[in-house]
């Protein structure tokens, strides 16, 4: 143990410099977007009364989904006792926390009055799904942080005692003064980790992500959203994107940080990802058939816009990157064990699900509420995209710094 050096950062400093340089450029671009957003409000967006939600809301539900999905992967590790998953448990939790922060940044930027962001905590409205969601998000972030703490505490103590420099200092702070590493104390950690996990699973499934789906589905006014299975699809595609990201990070860590990579675990994650993609496709097909069978004009029109409209790129992004490419890769046993192929599959899913989220938000809003009213037109402006790039880069930066400084990979492989 003591002979280990706790160097869990980049192995090659050129890669480190290169990666941070890319992030720095993206962050500078994003800062410009933030400047525009803060000085001109929503004027530089293409949002209208017909299409009041756009790029930022799509990214908001995307990151909530990424968070819920990543969390469920970690929950499988500690609640269902899938020991092989322990290697990625903390990474998944950390990603879940960051995704949630990024999601909240997106939704906050979308508000007309950012200065009143905290109004939902002051004025509750029990009939509003959004009111409930805000509280669910807050509790959820608390649960995630608590879990990460209990999962990582023992290693934080080790790093603070035997490591050096900023890592040791930070680790010492994050132990919150609980430095007991006796078997009893570690068992307490595990117990609380499990308890929080049990609380977190229904919270993530039904409140955080199911609830975000519900936020859309309750709208009788938009028939494309207004189905019972809609929130369920939300949850499934969340797991798909979360799994995709965890797979990609698992491979990336072994490549750049030199972490041990288990091909069995990789193949197992691959199978899980493939299964969830198939469920995702299946549920979406069922929902679509129910909708189209009724020939309701609004539904038919929405589907027409999804597949052939100006925003059809989102649908094809989903089909190609979230479904076809990963399924092709995951269908072969040899590729499921190949880190190179699996990172492609994971990243492809992460990229493709952006399309999934756009398909949800934008085309359904383009359909006029009533015959004779103007149809919506929407494509995000450069400003909307630039700010999005900034927030995503910020999330990546927080992850990278955290991954370099924190023992997100268990110091002892316990499997």
């Amino acid at each position: 143990m003591s002979t280990r050096s706790y160097n869990f950062g980049f192995q090659d400093s050129r890669v480190r410099v290169g990666w941070y340089a890319i992030l720095a450029v993206l962050l500078v671009v994003g800062l410009y977007g933030l400047y525009v957003r803060l000085t001109t409000g929503l004027l530089e967006t293409n949002l209208t009364a017909e299409v009041p939600w756009g790029v930022w809301i799509a990214f908001y539900i995307y990151f909530v989904g990424l968070s819920a999905g990543a969390f469920l992967v970690s929950a499988m590790a500690n609640v269902l006792g899938m020991r092989s998953l322990h290697a990625i448990e903390r990474d998944a939790l950390f990603v879940a926390i960051i995704s949630m922060i990024v999601a909240l940044l997106f939704v906050q930027s979308d508000l007309g009055r950012i200065d009143r962001s905290f109004a939902p905590l002051l004025h509750r409205q029990g009939m509003s799904v959004l009111s409930w969601e805000v509280h669910a998000y807050a509790v959820y972030i608390g649960v995630l942080t608590g879990e990460l703490y209990f999962s990582m505490r023992k290693d934080l103590v080790t790093v603070s005692e035997t490591g050096s420099g900023i890592r040791a200092k930070l680790a010492g702070l994050l132990t919150l003064g609980r430095t007991d590493v006796s078997e009893e104390a570690v068992a307490t950690d595990r117990k609380w980790l499990k308890r929080l996990g049990i609380l977190g699973i229904p919270l993530a499934i039904f409140f955080v992500h199911g609830g975000t789906g519900l936020l859309f589905a309750v709208n009788h006014s938009i028939s494309y959203w207004h189905t019972g299975v809609f929130p369920v699809i939300f949850i499934i595609s969340a797991v798909v994107s979360g799994l995709g990201l965890v797979v990609a990070l698992y491979v990336a860590r072994s490549k750049f940080f030199g972490d041990h990579l288990s091909r069995e675990l990789l193949a197992g994650l691959g199978k899980l990802l493939g299964a969830f993609i198939l469920i995702d496709i299946g549920l979406k097909a069922l929902d679509t058939l129910v909708g189209l069978y009724g020939m309701s004009p609004a539904k038919v029109e929405t589907w027409y816009l999804i597949v052939f409209g100006e925003n059809a790129w989102a649908f094809w992004l989903m089909v190609i990157f979230a479904w076809l490419i990963p399924l092709a890769i995951l269908s072969r046993k040899r590729w499921r064990r190949s880190p190179r192929m699996m990172v492609v599959a994971g990243l492809s899913v992460v990229f493709g699900v952006i399309g999934t989220r756009f398909v949800i938000v934008v085309p359904a809003l383009l359909v006029p509420d009533m015959d004779g009213m103007p149809a919506g037109v929407y494509a995000g402006t450069a400003e909307e995209w630039i700010l999005s790039v900034g927030f995503i880069a910020l999330g990546a930066l927080i992850y990278t710094v955290g991954a370099e400084l924190l023992p997100l990979k268990p110091l002892e492989d316990d499997h």
Binding site: G41, A49, P52, R113, A119, P120, S128, L130, S221, G372
Partner: protein, 323 residues
């Protein structure tokens, strides 16, 4: 400046408005000199030469002897919940009722009497009379000075039939003031709410601009102030007051917030009809109390020709159309 100066000044001032003004003032049972002195000092208070505390210290005793019980039971205008101009200790020493006007108003309003009838404002539009001139839309824009892209009232044009047998209908659509408004249901912070009189309105001091209500409204009757305005088209930039917002609000105050038709609530309060109803050239719009079965709108709403929009949504709109 002595009282004599003030008297002369005021005499001139009064003469401008009313001949023989002093004689007129003498007709009341109260002292004219005292009234003029108080008025002169009140001007000093507003110009800052005299403090509110000094003023009320000077006149409290005189006022008791002059006005008696009337003075003792009247709230003092210097006492206020928000902008009190007098120190609490001074207020305590006054003989008059040392509570603010809103406090008194609250006590008065507390129990409405049994026969206070609360109207349920509703509208009926006779589509046979509507010619599609859009003067309702224009009147609404002019009255509420809504920003670009916001028009509380629109007229939907629908064409029916195949050439040469075609007809066109025009369907004006303000807010339908639903009994079960989805916009109110979804608002996370109760920034939009339904008033007792059936009208759904928005609290511009609370709305944080999430636009969930715009999404939820099945009739597209909700709008958003994205920050555009017509200010540079006016001479006095930033000075235009919009009646809808109350006297102290300007365009900027609604930026980043949801907006909607509230049946010209400021006009209703004055006993006037909404601008769209008043202006309709064909008299196609009727506004009235749906809670009163005898009202014109109630009778029309139960007519065979009456129908409502998207009833399957369960919104129960207070808005009827006549085919």
């Amino acid at each position: 400046m002595g009282a004599g100066d003030s008297l002369e000044n005021y005499e001139t001032l009064l003469e401008d408005h009313l001949e023989e003004s002093l004689e007129e003032l003498e007709k009341t049972e109260y002292s004219t000199d005292l009234g003029i002195m108080m008025a002169a000092d009140a001007r000093r208070v507003s110009s800052g030469e005299m403090s509110s505390d000094e003023y009320w210290g000077k006149y409290d005793d005189v006022a008791v002897s002059e006005f008696g019980e009337d003075y003792e039971q009247t709230p003092n205008p210097a006492v206020d919940r928000v902008q009190q101009t007098i120190r609490e200790e001074t207020a305590e020493t006054l003989s008059c009722d040392a509570c603010s006007l809103p406090d008194v108003a609250e006590d008065v309003d507390e129990e409405p009497s049994e026969d206070d009838h609360i109207p349920q404002w509703g509208m009926v539009i006779d589509l046979e009379k509507c010619v599609g001139c859009e003067s309702c839309t224009t009147a609404c824009k002019a009255e509420n000075r809504t920003p670009p892209g916001v028009s509380y009232n629109v007229v939907m044009e629908q064409e029916h039939g195949v050439f040469p047998n075609v007809t066109r209908t025009h369907m004006p659509r303000p807010c339908l003031q639903c009994q079960n408004p989805p916009c109110v249901q979804v608002c996370p912070i109760t920034a939009t709410y339904k008033m007792e009189n059936g009208i759904t309105t928005i609290d511009y001091d609370r709305c944080f601009g999430c636009r969930y209500c715009l999404v939820a409204c099945p009739y597209g009757a909700r709008y958003f102030d994205f920050g555009e305005d017509y200010q540079d088209e006016f001479d006095e930039e930033g000075k235009v007051e919009v009646p809808e917002y109350g006297n102290e609000r300007t365009f900027e105050d609604t930026t980043g917030q949801a907006m909607k038709c509230n049946y010209c609530h400021h006009r209703l309060e004055r006993g006037e009809e909404p601008a769209c109803v008043e202006t309709c050239i064909g008299d196609a719009r009727y506004m009235g109390d749906l809670a009163d079965p005898e009202s014109e709108v109630s009778e029309m709403a139960s007519d065979q020709r009456a129908f409502r929009l998207k009833e399957e949504q369960g919104t129960d709109p207070n808005m009827y159309y006549l085919k």
